[in-house]
Amino acid sequence: MGHNNVGNSLQRRARCWSIYRRRYNNWSEQVSSGIRPSSHQQQDGDPATNGTHMSTRVRYTPYAIPPCHWRGNFQKQDQVQANMEGEQKPPERKMEGERQDETSGSWFKIIIPFGIKYEETWLLNLIQGQCSVPFTPVEFHYEKMQAQFFVEHASIAFALKSVNGKIWDENNERVSVFVYPSDAPHSVQKELMSEKVEQTKVKSAGELDKSKSLQPEEMSANRSSLCTAFPDKSTNISSILELFPKLLCLDSQESPSPTSIGIAAHKKLPTCKGSFFGSDALKSLILQFLLQYYLIDDSGDRQGLLSAYHDEACFSLTTPFNPKDPALSSLCEYFKESRNLKKLKDPSLRVQLLKHTKCDIVRSLCVLPKTQHDLSFFVVDMWFQTEMMICFSVNGVFKEVEGMSQDSVRTFTRTFIATPVSNYSLCIMNDDLFVRDASPKETQSTFSIPVPARSCSSWPTLCQKQQEVVQTFSTQSGMNLQWLQK
């Protein structure tokens, strides 16, 4: 290697390091001073930012606390009440000291861009007409050009997300519907707070307040803490973990024996070991992030992921595609973006395939096949944490839901480095995705054949409860989750 090569290498290295520093400095400046995102972001047509009042604290993300100021229709208490009472609450699912309705607790904001043009009842009827499940809108209001409302339950949010692209107004213009995870609406939070105060007063007086139709067990303090406090409450984790039953099961396993790998005597493959989170707080944060991320990733419109990424995030994808191996040919859609540095020697291609900026990243993600991820079988490793960031990997499976490889099942490993930007949201700095074909066994086990629920000898009640939760979720979402039933 001559001097020129060394010089060039050092120059490139200097450029690379300056990119790293700029990325890092940009991020820390934005967070500390609450700078509004650049116009560059708006040009991408991120619907969440168009016409929305921007928080003066941190930059707007769909995961963040909704704007503090609005005008419009606040739902009355009876609306909230009707919402609560409409839930299914089989008594046997109640756990001591916990919320009775385990499928509630996750709020989502629904945004209809240019919804100001439409009358409330007309618009809601239009959406309900295409929505596979009934929903109860909370705090419907207009904000600048948008119509907005809240719904509770991830399954309803999923169903509303599917309405996007399927409804038109009387002028034959498409009405868009976007779904974003959110805190509980203010009226709900206020209701809970006053409930708490009331209950405290009533209990100290030694009698129940019969005039309140909302039972204290149904609306425990944990519901508001689910939405506003740092996610280290056990009930917060419970509501998220409903959608990750295998994580719950695996996480409660005892530590595996160190002799688990390659036991020659049995010639048996080892079994998959449980997730590692490090702490309950991180577990809640990560799972909440994953739920939000894959809600949008599977929605058919990945533009919503723009707000999940830092402006100068990095993303790359690798797949073991081999053009000569017909078995792997169905991965060709991924191969176009694949950056397997073992095979890829062209330095300019190496640079090109490392997507660097949120716009490039989302552009790349949008061309990948549409997917349906199996959240219930995610295995997560939280592998390090600093003051500024956490790094974790997700292993799991997904199915392609359209195109030439429709119904093909893939396995993936995805590593994120992310910085917390609020109590329960993360901003992705690095995203590394590996995709390969699922083996016949893996395919069989997930999306096609019913699999007996894993026995959890230390949590027998919970496993049965999981099945009930899954059944409810399946009914509400319309998703075929038969394979999770016995």
Binding site: L269, M388, A438
Partner: protein, 127 residues
Amino acid sequence: MGDQPIWEQIRSSLIQHYYQLFDNDRTQLDTMSIDASCLTWEGQQFQGKAAIAGKLSSLPFQKIQQSLMAQDHQPTPDSCIISMVVGQLTVDEDPIMRFHQMFLLKNINDAWACTSAVFRLALHDFG
């Protein structure tokens, strides 16, 4: 070799070095970690050189052979490199298994060390 930036060369030689040591003499792997290093191995976390060395030395096989199928890496905001590896391994006479591993490489006082790593066998046990 191609016209690689120096940090890419460092990264790929570090990874290669790791797997050579792993396959031939795991006891020497502690030269690549530091006291602040952390390893998450199949869902269990080990902190510090001694714990990591203990875990790797105690893995219950005589022979291991690993081959890499895919690699990728990215720069991180704090000037580290995150490196992803997918490969296949076989231990003793057992069937081939896939694995994936991630490394976080950091430059400390002009020397590169692995400050964090995760290892997972590519198993999806849905039974």
